[in-house]
């Protein structure tokens, strides 16, 4: 078991030794219990010396006091064992989730893993240590006590007890398998029910209630079957307890007359039964519920954490000294799966240093894929992408990518701005803020040292911060992937012009066609044959580009205009261009609602 090995390997030696050492005083009460009862009866109460009997009982209280000191220290040491283990798990979960997300595998479960699952493992890990250690301590103590009361009784009691424990341990693997199956069905049920119940409105609108109910009914029944299968393991556990906990008692009673004939006293027999009923049985029952309950939870949950946090990363490419930052794509083909239509097919593109390129096309056609390819976040199925002669992605410092969803973290404004260039001076930072048009925002937030709460910023404000940060970065190659989509057209123009004036290459995945007009060259992606050219050239030769451009500019129905400089007369619906000629069209964004849409 992977999880079990991991848990054992994580046990630190020194705290563990301290734990074992403090277990000795903790074991004192269970070791003395039977002896004290036997002596109190035989040499005290039955011998007509009640004071001696009471004194032996006093010894028990004393032992409980010593045991309490032991127990207290044991739990403090337990923290020394468990806390580092939890730290390790948190590191794994965080590191794994980050690396997966960075590798483009979003992971919705990471936060639940961090808060719920890690805690389950922490609690059950501690619980397991407590239970196993407590069992060993009690059994050793009781065995020593039994032997000192009368070795022959010890020999009668211990074999069935050991047999019961061994039988229980032998069933653990089987029980774990069933438990795991139950957990799996439980998760499948939650996932399916979650998906279906989130879509009740949609199901009802479609009249597919029966279909949806049947989708959930399957997992419900599987889950019930898995739970019923657990009934067998519960019964098996009860049998093991009967052998380990009750059989010793029956054996001692059956052998009673024979023992008495051999000279054993009432106190000795009472002492022996006391060990069975008051020490061994509770220890065994705690072991069973501990291993069977938290032990299985531990293994199952830890397994899940370890699996989910394992990241298969290709070995990081060795940094290669790039010469410059010209971008060269040769014969690039990219598809999201072996059976999928390619998003890009055999694309050639050369961007000399200092170029300004806009990429336009309908949503979902592969514009963001282009950005990821140029930045080395995705690898093409065939062809090569070189930046400064080195494979894209080898030199992260060469380029900066700002995606549509700008990343702003809780920290000060300055910390956020310095993210890509920690050493920048205040003057440089202020210049960058000014350049992209973020001064008003920074002032409103309360200046450079003011704290930023990402969830209190609008999407556009987050984009402004990300833009200032990118402007400030030393990277000569800047890729804006719809990075200004939440800004209004005027603010977008300010930011884009700032980047165009900045030294280096600029690639803009255009959200509005106006972005394209500002670029030196434009790449039109239509899913079939990419077309590269200037605004004027494309307007004259590329019908899709013409349509995109026309869509944005002519029909301004309700007054507002993205490019107030170019008002156009309204166009009546009857004046629609020939639709069948359109293959793909200019995307609009939900954020644009209320903006005019041309007809």
């Amino acid at each position: 078991m992977n999880a079990l090995r991991f848990g054992l390997a994580a046990l630190p030696r020194r705290p563990l030794l301290a734990l074992a050492a403090w277990s000795v005083p903790e074991a004192l009460p269970s070791a003395l219990l039977g002896v004290a009862v036997a002596r109190a009866v035989d040499s005290g109460f039955l011998a007509g010396r009640p004071v001696v009997g009471l004194a032996w009982l006093g010894v028990l209280l004393l032992a409980a006091g010593v045991g309490a000191i032991g127990a207290r220290q044991v739990f403090r040491r337990l923290g020394d064992v468990v806390e580092p283990f939890r730290d390790e798990l948190v590191r794994r979960v965080v590191g794994g989730a980050l690396r997966r997300a960075v590798a483009g595998q979003p992971d919705d479960g990471a936060v639940v893993r961090l808060t719920r699952q890690v805690e389950i493992v922490r609690d059950t890990y501690a619980g397991l240590i407590v239970v196993v250690r407590g069992f060993v301590v009690t059994v050793v103590g009781a065995a020593v006590g039994l032997m000192s009361v009368a070795p022959v009784i010890g020999l009668l009691i211990l074999p069935p007890f050991v047999l019961g424990v061994a039988a229980f341990v032998a069933t653990l693997g089987f029980a774990a398998e069933r438990q795991r199956a139950a957990v799996r069905t439980d998760e499948r049920l939650s996932a399916t029910a979650g998906a279906v119940l989130a879509g009740v409105r949609d199901v009802v609108a479609r009249g597919a209630e029966e279909h949806a109910a049947a989708m959930v009914a399957g997992p419900i029944r599987e889950q019930a079957a898995a739970e019923r299968a657990l009934a067998g393991t519960a019964a098996l556990r009860t049998l093991c307890f009967a052998v380990g906990g009750w059989l010793p008692l029956v054996v001692v009673l059956a052998a009673g007359p024979w023992l008495v004939r051999r000279g054993l006293t009432a106190g000795a027999i009472m002492g022996a039964l006391t060990y069975v009923l008051f020490a061994l049985q509770p220890a065994l029952s705690r072991l069973m519920s501990g291993l069977g309950g938290s032990g299985l939870r531990f293994v199952v949950t830890l397994d899940r954490i370890l699996t989910a946090s394992t990241v298969v990363t290709a070995s990081a490419p060795r940094p290669v000294a790039a010469r410059g930052y010209d971008v060269v794509l040769r014969g690039v083909t990219f598809r999201y799966g072996p059976h999928a239509e390619p998003v890009l097919r055999d694309l050639d593109l050369i961007l000399p240093e200092g170029d300004h390129l806009a990429i336009v096309g309908p949503s979902g056609i592969g514009k963001s894929t282009m950005a990821s390819l140029v930045c080395g976040l995705l690898s093409p199925a065939s062809g090569s992408i070189l930046v400064g002669g080195a494979p894209a992605g080898v030199m992260p410092g060469t380029r900066v990518l700002i995606p549509q969803e700008a990343y702003v973290f809780a920290g000060t404004v300055r910390e956020n701005l310095l993210y890509l260039r920690p050493g920048a001076s205040t003057v440089e930072v202020e210049a960058a803020v000014e350049a992209v048009g973020a001064s008003t925002l920074v002032d409103r937030l309360g200046g450079m040292e003011a704290p930023v709460r990402p969830d209190e910023l609008s999407a556009g404000e987050r984009q402004l911060i990300a833009l200032a940060r990118a402007y400030l970065s030393p990277a000569p190659l800047v890729v804006l992937d719809e990075a200004t989509c939440h800004l209004d057209p005027a603010a977008e123009r300010v930011a884009e012009e700032a980047f165009a004036a900045r030294e280096g290459t600029l690639i803009v995945i255009a959200h509005r066609v106006t972005s394209a007009e500002r670029a030196r060259r434009i790449l039109v992606l239509d899913g079939v044959s990419p077309d590269l050219g200037t605004h004027a050239a494309l307007l004259s030769r590329n019908p899709l580009y013409r349509e995109l451009h026309g869509l944005w500019h002519p029909g301004l129905i309700a007054g507002a205009s993205p490019t107030p400089a170019r008002p156009s007369p309204p166009v009546k619906p009857s004046a629609l261009p020939g639709l069948p000629a359109l293959r793909r069209a200019w995307p609009s964004d939900p954020a644009d609602q209320g903006q005019p849409h041309a007809v």
């Binding site: 979650g194 009249g207 019923r228 009673g256 410092g397 793909r584 849409h597």
Partner: protein, 547 residues
């Protein structure tokens, strides 16, 4: 039965529940009888001769106890599994037939967690009924052996209670601080995961990892505090543990020395002291009962929601004429729609426009019978929607949403929801969803989880899902994330497909309104005007709707 009563759930456990009760009762009897029998057996053994009966009796009791345990463990698990499955199926079906107004996350917790807790109703009722017996019986039996024993027992118990009091309060406080530290890490992780693409491009993964993990030291410190608190209370528990037993043994020892009781009685007394101290376990049983009741209440709340009732009628042939007659919809004190009278000619495309909160989506929901009006009625080709059978209504009317929720294993399942594959493909072609679905790793067989989609792509699938509708398509802002040309192409397909379906299109876009045959302008729940877009455009208030 609309609610889940305790008894109903308990009965649903099926034929195994009586066995749970039998097992619990026999277990109690064994627990109480065994110490006394063991005491007698010890006395008989020590006295020599004649011990056979008592030993055999003890052995028999042990065997009975084990058999009871076996039965109880088995029957309890089966009962709960059966009742939980029954409750879950009912919950899901009920929610589906009740339709709107549900919070999915909350419902999932009711289906997955509360249903199991509620299913415990039968077994917990049994354990509560029997749990009081061993401790109470022990006290009685102690008194019977020697009244002083009972007194010693109660004194010991009082001592233990005094020692263990302050424990839960301290724990709660420390655990709160610990969870806050944990929350700080979780918040940072969430942020960083949201910015994964930026981080990937900047190559700052390690720096982010350090930033997220910065509060880990606090977590460690708070964690260590929890262990110190636990250590203190464990120490107290270990010190207080044997108090009851020692008190009873001391009183019993003196009685033994005085000749009032036998050695066997003393042994039995010690055992009863331990069973009696199990009184603390009773709170756990009662808590279980309280949990089952609370869970039943949560389950019952869902089952008490009214379901949509369908009529028996089929639709006569017709063009898809849609009429609203005096429709009013209220929610609490708020009036969402008021006095809406509308007649939409069959086959027309009607845009519904208005500011946010004007009642557009409510009108759409009423038209698709996702919600019934509080006053008035809606008719399709002359038949009130409420008279239509489930099959007739849903075959005639389809509805697509601004944020469609896609359900199913694969993209094809999500669009089809039980429909044949060729119809799925046809609908996807018509709504231009085929363009991007064919680029997914496994095309139509791509699992939904592996098909990250933009809002516009989801909308196209949502439209495809509603495409089957025969007479009326209600589009509730269902193309808002589409690029304008795709939207136009889809609306062309709608007009040109020859099926002449009536379309009710809620929209924020002037362009969409301008293409419609008729525009219904809603304002504060009332119809402010009906007319062509061009005619309405003269009103500046109307134009302001689109800004």
């Amino acid at each position: 039965m609309t609610t889940a009563s305790f008894g109903a759930v308990a009965r649903r456990g099926g034929r195994w529940l009586p066995f749970v009760a039998v097992a619990a009762l026999s277990g109690t009897a064994v627990t109480l009888a065994l110490p006394a029998v063991l005491g007698r057996a010890i006395d008989a053994i020590v006295a020599g001769g004649g011990s056979g009966t008592w030993v055999a009796l003890a052995g028999g009791l042990v065997a009975l106890g084990v058999a009871g345990e076996l039965l109880g463990a088995y029957a309890g698990t089966i009962t709960v599994a059966t009742a939980a499955a029954w409750l879950r199926e009912r919950l899901v079906r009920h929610v589906l037939s009740a339709g709107r107004g549900v919070d999915a996350g909350d419902l999932v917790s009711r289906v997955s967690a509360n249903a199991v807790d509620a299913a415990q109703a039968g077994p917990t009722a049994v354990s509560v009924a029997t749990a009081i017996l061993p401790p109470a019986g022990s006290l009685v039996l102690l008194t019977l052996i020697d009244p002083w024993l009972a007194l010693a027992f109660l004194c010991g118990l009082a001592l233990v209670g005094a020692v263990l009091r302050a424990f839960t309060r301290r724990t709660a406080e420390v655990v709160g601080a610990y969870q806050r530290a944990q929350g700080r890490i979780a918040a940072r992780l969430t942020e960083a995961l949201g910015g994964a693409r930026t981080i990937a491009a900047a190559g700052t993964t390690e720096r982010e990892e350090r930033r997220v993990l910065a509060p880990l030291a606090d977590l460690r410190a708070e964690g260590e505090r929890t262990w110190r608190v636990l250590a203190r209370s464990s120490g107290q528990a270990a010190a207080a543990g044997p108090l009851v037993l020692v008190a009873v043994l001391a009183a019993g020892g003196l009685a033994l020395a005085a000749g009032r009781i036998s050695a066997g009685d003393l042994f039995a007394a010690g055992r009863y002291a331990v069973i009696g101290a199990g009184l603390g376990g009773l709170t756990g049983t009662l808590a279980g009962l309280a949990r089952a009741r609370a869970a039943l209440h949560r389950v019952g709340e869902v089952l008490a929601r009214p379901t949509i009732q369908y009529g028996p009628a089929a639709l006569p042939p017709g063009p898809g004429r849609l009429e609203f007659r005096g429709v009013a919809v209220r929610s609490g004190d708020a009036t969402l729609l008021d006095g809406v009278d509308l007649a939409v000619p069959g086959g027309a495309a009607v845009a519904v426009v208005g500011r946010s909160g004007a009642g557009k989506s409510v009108l759409a929901a009423v038209a698709a019978r996702l919600r019934d009006p509080d006053e008035g009625e809606v008719r399709l080709d002359g038949v009130p929607l409420t008279d239509l059978s489930h099959g007739a209504l849903r075959a005639a009317v389809g509805c697509a949403f601004e944020r469609p929720v896609l359900i199913g294993g694969t993209v094809a399942d999500a669009v089809g929801l039980g429909l044949a594959r060729d119809r799925v493909r046809g609908a996807a072609l018509a709504t231009h969803a085929d363009d991007f679905v064919s680029r997914l790793p496994l095309g139509y067989d791509t699992p939904l989880a592996d098909a990250p989609m933009s809002g516009g792509e989801r909308q196209r699938l949502g439209l495809a899902r509603a495409w089957h509708a025969e007479r009326l398509l209600v589009l509730d802002d269902a193309t808002s994330s589409l690029d304008t040309v795709t939207e136009m192409q889809i609306s062309r397909t709608l007009t040109a497909d020859g099926r002449g379906r009536t379309r009710l299109i809620v929209t924020h876009r002037a362009a969409t309104a301008s293409r419609a045959d008729l525009v219904v302008w809603l304002d504060a729940g009332r119809v402010r005007a009906v007319g062509s877009h061009a005619a309405l455009c003269d009103d500046p208030d109307y134009r302001a709707v689109f800004v």
